[in-house]
């Protein structure tokens, strides 16, 4: 339901455009900056999609992102564990961030990382440190 906290063991995928990646393809802090007037960082909730494997869930998210966005040729998808990212920010800064469900009609797995604007640059760098795996678009 909208506004629900995502379970800590679950994962989210953040779309990382090519202009926000390092030369080796890893996301830099800018991949986790808010756009102007954005209230939260948009992510996709992997487990919500109820796929058999993680790979299938990534594929499903890929097709959602391709429908929604103008995906660049060098873009990547970064997988993040909810507990890891919240815990890392909490222990390193004493700040609390939240990952909440933000479903929309065409994208029921859509979710948001809230409260990164408390200290955006530090929190963005810390989130970038917690990226689990990276996936290219096929």
């Amino acid at each position: 339901m909208k506004g629900d906290h995502l379970p800590g063991k679950d994962h989210v995928i953040r779309y990382c455009p090519g202009s926000k990646l390092a030369e080796d393809g890893t996301p830099l802090g800018t991949a986790f900056y808010l756009r102007r007037n954005e209230k939260y960082l948009s992510v996709e909730w992997m487990e919500y999609l109820q796929q058999r494997t993680k790979e299938c869930a990534v594929k499903e998210v890929e097709s959602i992102l391709l429908r929604k966005l103008n995906v660049g040729s060098t873009a990547r998808m970064a997988v993040l564990n909810v507990d890891n990212l919240c815990h890392h920010v909490k222990t390193q800064t004493a700040l609390t961030i939240r990952v909440l469900h933000e479903p929309s009609g065409k994208d029921p797995a859509h979710s948001g990382i809230y409260d990164t604007d408390q200290d955006e640059m530090i929190i963005a760098e810390l989130i970038a440190e917690t990226v689990d795996t990276l996936h290219t678009f096929s």
């Binding site: 090519g18 202009s19 926000k20 390092a22 030369e23 830099l28 991949a31 102007r36 040729s73 530090i122």
Partner: protein, 218 residues
């Protein structure tokens, strides 16, 4: 204290610097402001009482088309100025670093256009600020570079020992930055600082915190 730090910190606070001089961007902005004011003045003339209605409409159409041309010219001018600035960085006095930064910026510019539309470009003010900033660092190490959605330039230096310095150039003067470095008394603890400053003061401030110049210089 390293000599590079001494040079920067020895600048008397009252002496004029590059940053006190109105940048080229401001002069160009004045030029465009004049053009826009002239267009607005034309509008008010057309809408005055006693002016033939059909003539006024034709003139307004003409003026609107001039506005579209002006917008298009602005985009073209900005694109040219960004290319010129990237080229200037490439021809910088430290050619290896200059060329590497310029090549990376050209790739990122392509990515930005691919993602945000062909009219989107790197912020010229941010690019100029980045150039002015990096010129202050003797023997600078090649940073990781990326762009924000707004087209602002972001640089990051990261070393193995939990050290990180990243800087986001917001316009031709203002920056945000973040520094991570090991706590000198408790090695397992990482100190984390963020701030908002001008390009001429951020380096001395960062250097006072954790001798940042030592590890972003090669």
């Amino acid at each position: 204290m390293p000599s590079s730090t001494a040079v920067i910190n020895d600048i008397p606070l009252s002496s004029p610097t590059f940053f006190d001089v109105p940048p080229k961007a401001e002069k160009v902005a004045f030029f465009y402001k004049d053009l826009l004011q002239a267009t607005a003045l034309n509008f008010s003339r057309f809408l005055s009482p006693g002016v033939d209605r059909s003539l006024a409409e034709t003139c307004l159409d003409q003026s609107l088309s001039n506005d579209e041309n002006l917008a298009e010219l602005t985009v073209q001018w900005r694109s040219f100025a960004v290319s010129e600035q990237i080229e200037r960085i490439g021809n910088w006095c430290k050619p290896t670093i200059g060329r590497a930064i310029a090549e990376r910026l050209a790739i990122l510019r392509q990515c930005l256009r691919e993602e945000e539309g062909q009219k989107k470009d790197i912020s010229l003010d941010s690019l100029r600020a980045m150039h002015a900033f990096i010129e202050q660092i003797p023997n600078v190490r090649l940073p990781q570079i990326s762009l924000t959605t707004e087209g602002d330039v972001y640089l990051r230096w990261k070393s193995e020992a939990g050290r990180l310095f990243s800087i986001n150039f917001l316009d031709d003067r203002r920056v945000r930055f973040v520094i991570f470095y090991p706590n000198p008394r408790h090695s397992q603890m990482i100190n984390r600082h963020s701030g908002y400053e001008t390009i001429d003061t951020v380096l001395p401030s960062a250097d006072r915190l954790c001798s940042v110049l030592e590890w972003i210089s090669g």
